[in-house]
Symmetry: C2
Amino acid sequence: MPAVQAKNSTTERTSEVYRTAAELIVDKGFGGTSIGDIATAVGMTKASLYHHISGKQDMLYQIMQHAMDELERTVIAPVRLIEDPEQRLREIMRLHIMGAIEHGVAITIVMSEISHLEPDQRQDIIKRRKAYHALARQALRQLADQGRLRDLDVNIATMHIMNTLVGIARWYPNDITSNQTRLIRETVEYNVAAILKTTS
Amino acid sequence: MPAVQAKNSTTERTSEVYRTAAELIVDKGFGGTSIGDIATAVGMTKASLYHHISGKQDMLYQIMQHAMDELERTVIAPVRLIEDPEQRLREIMRLHIMGAIEHGVAITIVMSEISHLEPDQRQDIIKRRKAYHALARQALRQLADQGRLRDLDVNIATMHIMNTLVGIARWYPNDITSNQTRLIRETVEYNVAAILKTTS
């Protein structure tokens, strides 16, 4: 089925453009990165690049939507099937870190460049991010209902969990020599120890 | 002593310029903020503004150095006097959050705009940030030596603590309705529960 192959190939090429663009933006700043820079980095002419993106600001929006799509596909959808809230939360953390490493940490870092979006675009991204946070918060609420949570503020704890996950992108792999398995285990156990009552 | 008063007044005015500039950069991005925008926001002519800053990039560097100076003065110096590592770590967290709120969260957020600095400037800031992280890491190492730490990776745990602190600037006060005292208590207890062995 050549049509499908062409479609897949285009999608992969677009992902690659997003990833490279994100790396450039992280390295040189959004203002310091031109469409020409991105074209050079991905080995395309500017004209070909415009088949994938419609402009620099739209591209930033598309990168963020793409990151949220991937989060939806690789984290949010699978964990919804997990009934136990502790296991669900552990999987959110594990899959989030795996995705961040797999898709390139630059994409995570670029998510903070939200100030460069149009107000409508900004609202779209904030809404999707809030839905993601709500998924973690819901797991904490269920744990509280089941008497398994320490006496803590669920909103603040949700933000701390999210910040340990998002923060990984800013220092991995430069400051940490550990491998991915260790990073996942340490991060999951850190947050679980922070929120759960100790069983003794 | 009018000379001293003039000096203090200049310093305060400069702090105010930094704070306002940081807020503009967070709102509009570094590339989207002009010296003219900053002058208008602080109610100065561009010529007067140039008494405080020497250019946009230098200003960003000065803002970051100022933030590190404040961290040094209000967090690092006082906690060095605390002998017990748990108490030292608790104070790092408490004073960090108090400082972030007092100096304006925009200054913390601007710290991530490090890509806009010259390589030498970037290295200066990274070096100071590493020294700060080392202070927390040292407290964790002492706790480990005293047998009070859970079995965890001290480098990863240090980063998680730092990310919960830095992350506060990104969502306070928009997403959290709690007050400063609650925010400090919850954050300190979150991280302490994450790292210490339970006493039972």
